[in-house]
């Protein structure tokens, strides 16, 4: 009988990534709803010392899979190890983060286990002992409530920056166990041969707390410096609409939208962006949306919490100055 909630921790270079705390917190809530235990699976090379803090966020057990071949992440090594652990441990629910790594891992892991997987979910619940998940579809133009049939463990990935992180309780401890698994060198099918760090030191849009984004109204690449200045003052990353990216003003990696990045920051400031459905698809789960556009009929004002109908070239620099009073 499948029992227990498991989450897969995500770490990079030995550091736990923030999405892990979101998963552990949500996993704790689901484990409580089921009246079962939360186990966090931590894979990597030198990661055992990180187990304790996972307890603070709600883990009852931490299963540590340590091997030099688990650093860095590759799909095949992680799928091999986790599927062995899952077959042995038989959890009822298995959660991962819908980060780049998480999505790569979850798809193949679900295939290996021959189970269904709900991708990029924005809410979870337990109903009649089953995991129920809410997930956006058609780029958020509709939401689907899904559940699982004859499919154990019930697997899902959580959209980053949506699940609330618990207050860590340093008095909580967990049982830390060494995972038992076999790994063959033949399991290493792909190799990370290099990484190119983003030198700008910018926070990736999918992880940013605040985003200032520019669209067609920016009129050209040279004008983005006013957004960069605002971003610097309030601690934001700079995004762009598809128009701006297609025009070559900003790189692909800056695009927010249906065929770009899906972001969920605390603050999203849309400057000179009309608010086409495809753009809204990428930022509609932002906590606070601000729209600055001189066209009062722009659809973005339907979604904005605060709308400023004025020329962004007047408003943005003024906002930068005003914001300095508060940050």
């Amino acid at each position: 009988m499948a029992q227990g909630v498991w989450t897969i921790a995500e770490q990079r270079d030995g550091e736990i990534r923030k999405i892990t705390y979101e998963l552990v917190s949500e996993g704790r809530r689901l484990a409580d709803a089921l009246g079962q235990e939360l186990t966090v699976v931590l894979l990597g090379s030198n990661v055992k010392d990180k187990a304790a803090e996972l307890a603070h966020y709600g883990a009852d057990k931490v299963l540590v899979a340590a091997d030099s071949r688990l650093e860095p992440y590759t799909t095949d090594t992680y799928v091999s190890v986790i599927s062995q652990l899952v077959k042995a441990g038989e959890p009822a629910v298995l959660l991962l983060g819908a980060s780049v790594q998480g999505k790569d891992l979850a798809g193949r892991l679900a295939a290996r286990l021959d189970v269904a997987m709900a991708q990029d979910c924005t809410a979870f619940a337990i109903e009649d002992g089953n995991l129920v998940a809410i997930r956006p579809i058609y780029a958020g133009k509709a939401y689907a409530k899904v559940t699982f049939d004859k499919s154990w463990p019930q697997m899902a990935t959580a959209r980053p920056k949506v699940m609330a992180i618990n207050e860590p309780d340093p008095s909580r401890s967990a049982e830390v166990m060494d995972a038992v698994f076999t790994l063959d060198d033949a399991d290493l099918k792909t190799k990370v041969v290099g990484t190119v760090k983003d030198e700008s030191g910018k926070v990736d849009l999918t992880e940013a707390d605040k985003i200032v984004s520019g669209g067609r109204g920016m009129k050209g690449p040279e004008n983005y410096n006013i957004l960069e200045e605002l971003a610097d003052v309030i601690g934001a990353s700079v995004g762009a609409s598809r128009s701006a990216v297609d025009a070559g003003w900003r790189p692909h990696s800056d695009q927010v939208g249906q065929t770009g990045k899906v972001v969920s920051p605390n603050l999203y400031v849309a400057c000179g962006i009309s608010g086409a459905i495809q753009h809204l698809a990428g930022m509609s789960t932002s906590k606070v949306i601000v729209a600055i556009n001189k066209d009062e009929d722009a659809p973005i004002f339907q979604k904005a919490d605060y709308g400023v109908v004025a020329d962004l070239f007047d408003v943005v620099p003024a906002l930068t100055e005003e914001a300095k009073k508060y940050v």
Partner: protein
């Protein structure tokens, strides 16, 4: 090089999505169907690799008969052969089942590389590529923005942007790549290409042709069950920030963001 490209159709991204009265599916009457945008990147990359290394590109589409149109588009862009996997019993299948149908269709073909889009912009699931790779027991390289095949055609080097950096990954072939935006700019089919496409082979396979049992597919076989579709959650109505001048509005906005929204 022999390359297989998988594709499907999705509603055009301009489409207004309307939920049907049973709350479990969308209304399809007014939908304009197009090739999934991420699949287009796969077609284009396959064609570029063929131009560089020689070989053949086969396009495999799954879905109702109308998907033939998108396969023809890929043939018009320059692919050599098409295959449509189509069966009434496939309607309503989940990603796991769809991947199994595609795996059955391609497992006996010769291929060095398989491309899929990183996800479909309808269900936004992004698992068919990974599932197909696992069923075929080949490595998958997902969310890829750059592909280089080695001169000897035995390995591939790809780039995947992750948060804050780009990974450079190598794999032996055959492998499966899921295409991410930024991989390339897909070409438009030329008029001569469209004419040539009409003569290119396009075969159709049913589940029975693939040796598959229809009981394993469709709505009834879904492991991921849809309980309900709803419109997106409504946001509380927003406010237009007041002020006589842009500067006043900016000041008021900053105040609201600090005091009311508390975002800085």
């Amino acid at each position: 090089m022999n390359i297989i490209v998988c594709l499907k159709q999705v509603p055009d991204t301009e489409t207004q999505i309307k939920i049907g009265s049973n709350s479990k599916s969308i209304l399809t009457d007014d939908i304009k169907w197009v090739m999934n945008p991420y699949d287009e990147f796969g077609v284009e990359e396959a064609l570029r690799l063929k131009e560089k290394h020689g070989g053949e590109v086969t396009v495999v589409g799954l879905g109702p008969k109308r998907v033939t149109e998108s396969i023809r588009t890929a043939l018009a862009m320059g692919a050599d052969k098409g295959m449509l996997i189509s069966d009434e019993a496939l309607e309503g299948s989940d990603s796991l089942a769809n991947a199994k149908a595609i795996a059955a269709a391609v497992k006996d073909l010769e291929y060095d590389l398989i491309f899929t889009g990183q996800r479909g912009v309808d269900d936004d699931m992004g698992v068919v590529g990974a599932t197909l790779a696992d069923l075929l027991n080949i490595p998958q390289l997902s969310l890829i923005v750059k592909v280089e095949v080695s001169a000897d055609g035995k390995s591939v080097r790809v780039e995947r942007p992750i948060e804050g950096e780009t990974l450079v990954i190598e794999s032996t072939l055959p492998a499966l790549i899921t295409a991410q935006k930024g991989l390339n700019e897909p070409r438009y089919a030329s008029l001569p290409g469209i004419m040539k496409a009409k003569k290119k082979p396009l075969e159709e396979k049913s589940l029975a042709d693939l040796g598959l049992n229809s009981a394993d597919f469709g709505e009834g076989a879904r492991k991921l069950k849809i309980l309900e579709l709803t419109p997106p959650p409504a946001r509380a109505a927003g406010k237009i920030v007041e002020g006589e001048t842009p500067q006043e509005k900016a000041a008021q906005l900053a105040k609201l963001l600090h005091e009311e929204a508390k975002v800085f």
